[in-house]
């Protein structure tokens, strides 16, 4: 095979025999052909259920019953008057936003620590990423036990230090439970911020740092004026990803509280799942669909950042 390094792209089409072969050499038809298998799956199992979900949310369908009626927006009107749903919206927003500053600052800290040169850095880096890597359902089980009202080793340690008298009731009431859930979420999400920011730190120019140091800037000033501008976009993207994934979380809350006590810690996912369990499919679809405007807003913001960066 001869290697040709022509300046302009050769017109391969002209060199080809006519007929069937030609079709395979034109980019556009081939490109559309290549999209077909993937798009079929995405249409059938994403687009179709999305619209089916909108339809279902406007019916009174129950699991196991063939007959159902179209009820318009009644399900959504019911939700507007539903105390548990109000709490669900509040919980989801608290859960998504209150955890972000912790994950971001602690993740930034970890990234800066890991960005130094030291022995076994590859191994240590991989180990510290474990919380984000293992199945959430499984790591949540570990937290379930760490937060157990009787067996919690956290309570045991605090008691033996004399800081508390009796065991902490981690899931005893709504705010305790939300606090515990947030801690587990921060634990899981922190490494994601750390690796994202760490990847961004690789792009920070050492020359600029040296130049700034020569000009008399101290470490903090160098961080603000040299490092931060470089990793700004990556921080924004990681933050939005984290908000979106936390907003639509299911497993962590399902394992830790199942939405309890007294349905006070539900997020959209767990509340919809519970309604489905009560066989109220139309209502459940309405709960799940209520996430959509929020998700669309987050996605639109994310898209703006990505495009602005081009």
């Amino acid at each position: 095979m001869s290697v040709i390094t022509a300046g302009s792209r050769p017109k391969a089409e002209l060199l080809q025999p006519r007929g069937k072969a030609r079709f395979w050499d034109r980019e556009a038809p081939l490109a559309y052909l290549f999209m077909i298998p993937g798009l079929l799956i995405l249409l059938l199992f994403m687009a179709y259920p999305f619209f089916l979900g909108i339809y279902l949310s406007m019916t009174d369908k129950m699991v196991g019953f063939a007959d159902f009626n179209f009820v318009g927006l009644e399900n959504f009107q019911l939700l507007l008057r539903d105390q548990i749903f109000h709490r669900t919206v509040a919980n989801t927003l608290i859960y998504s936003f209150v955890t972000v500053p912790f994950k971001l600052l602690l993740g930034l800290g970890l990234a800066l620590v890991l960005n130094q040169k030291f022995h076994f850095s590859r191994f240590i880096r991989a180990a510290l990423l474990l919380p984000w890597i293992v199945p959430t359902a499984i790591s949540s089980l570990a937290w379930l036990m760490l937060f157990d009202s009787v067996l919690s080793p956290i309570s045991w340690v605090l008691k033996s230090w004399g800081l508390i008298q009796s065991n902490i009731n981690f899931f005893g009431d709504r705010w305790n439970a939300i606090g515990s859930i947030c801690v587990a979420n921060i634990w899981r999400g922190l490494p994601f911020f750390a690796i994202s920011i760490l990847a961004g730190l690789q792009a920070v120019s050492p020359e600029l740092h040296e130049a700034a140091a020569l000009d008399g800037a101290n470490a903090f000033q160098r961080f603000v004026s040299v490092t931060l501008p470089t990793i700004r976009t990556i921080i924004l993207i990681a933050t939005l990803f984290s908000i979106i994934f936390t907003f639509s979380d299911f497993q962590l809350i399902y394992v830790l509280t199942k939405g309890g006590p007294a349905s006070s810690t539900h997020v959209f996912g767990t509340y919809a799942y519970q309604m489905m369990g009560f066989s109220a499919l139309g209502q459940a679809a309405a709960v799940a669909l209520s996430m959509f405007p929020f998700l669309a807003l987050f996605a639109a913001i994310l898209l703006r950042f990505i495009r602005a960066d081009d």
Partner: protein, 281 residues
């Protein structure tokens, strides 16, 4: 004393913060390990130091592997993730190739659309999807998850592969075209072999994402002996508020090992793939 000063600096800037992070991030795993090798009666005695390992035992692991359906769950998860990964890779290589190397009308828009699909969570779709799965008669069948998992695997893998295909020189392919190869031949014989590292990492990510999935597995294959590992552990090892902590934690350790090993090699690729793709979109 310059030497001790450097040492203090290292200690303050590196080793002490690293230790604090390690304690917070690895404590739950250490705890799982401790509980998994503890005999039951010691576990429930709250007077004993919970961190003390007295007469360690593998009884919990034996119980898990012999008296529960755990091996079956591992098998189910393997079948489902392998099937979904193969299907997703096939579709994603084609999409990634088209978006990364072809210029065609609507290409950029399709790229953005694929990226947005990655943000669609299972919680939004699982209720109508359960209707579709049951209408196709796929409830409690491997096919339910093999067909549904690609909905989040294809956007992710296509995005990753699109970035990867872009890094492969166009001139090589053009040279083959001039030599009389068809585009398809140029693709399968020149570009694809060069993209094998990218395909491999996309495959491993698909595998781990499938392994970790919970909601779809709970709803579509959550009964009988068709459970996946995360679903089986959560719903079968906790019975009527009775917690078998020892075997639960043993299951946690065994269920985490495959993904932990896979990711350890690839975590750097993951981030650069995700963010490079994202900022170049």
């Amino acid at each position: 004393m310059v030497g001790s000063n450097v040492f203090t600096q290292r200690l303050l800037k590196l080793w002490i913060p690293l230790l604090l992070y390690a304690v917070f991030l690895l404590f739950p795993f250490a705890w799982m390990l401790i509980v998994s090798i503890k005999p039951d009666q010691l576990l429930l005695d709250t007077r004993i130091n919970p961190f003390a390992i007295i007469s360690p035992t593998l009884e919990n692991y034996r119980y898990l592997l012999q008296e529960t359906e755990f091996p079956r769950w591992i098998w189910n998860t393997l079948v489902v993730t392998a099937g979904a990964t193969a299907l997703s890779l096939f579709c994603s290589i084609l999409i990634g190739y088209a978006l990364g190397r072809f210029r065609f009308r609507g290409g950029n828009t399709l790229g953005i659309a694929i990226f947005l699909l990655y943000l669609v969570p299972p919680t939004l779709l699982f209720i109508p999807l359960s209707q579709i799965v049951s209408r196709f008669g796929l409830y409690n069948s491997y096919w339910s998850l093999i067909l549904v998992y690609p909905t989040f695997l294809i956007p992710f893998a296509s995005w990753l592969l699109m970035g990867y295909f872009r890094t492969i020189s166009r001139e090589l392919e053009d040279a083959a075209l001039v030599d009389g190869a068809t585009r398809l031949q140029a693709m399968t014989r020149i570009v694809l072999p060069l993209a094998i590292p990218g395909v491999l990492s996309a495959g491993i990510f698909c595998f781990t994402l499938g392994w970790n999935e919970f909601l779809y597995a709970l709803v579509f294959m959550g009964s009988g002996d068709m459970k996946t590992v995360p679903v089986g552990v959560v719903s079968d090892l906790i019975r009527a508020d009775l917690y078998f902590w020892g075997s639960l934690m043993a299951a946690g350790i065994l269920g985490s090992v495959p993904v932990a090993v896979a990711y350890a090699f690839l975590v750097d690729n993951y981030v650069s793939g995700l963010t490079a793709g994202a900022t170049k979109g």
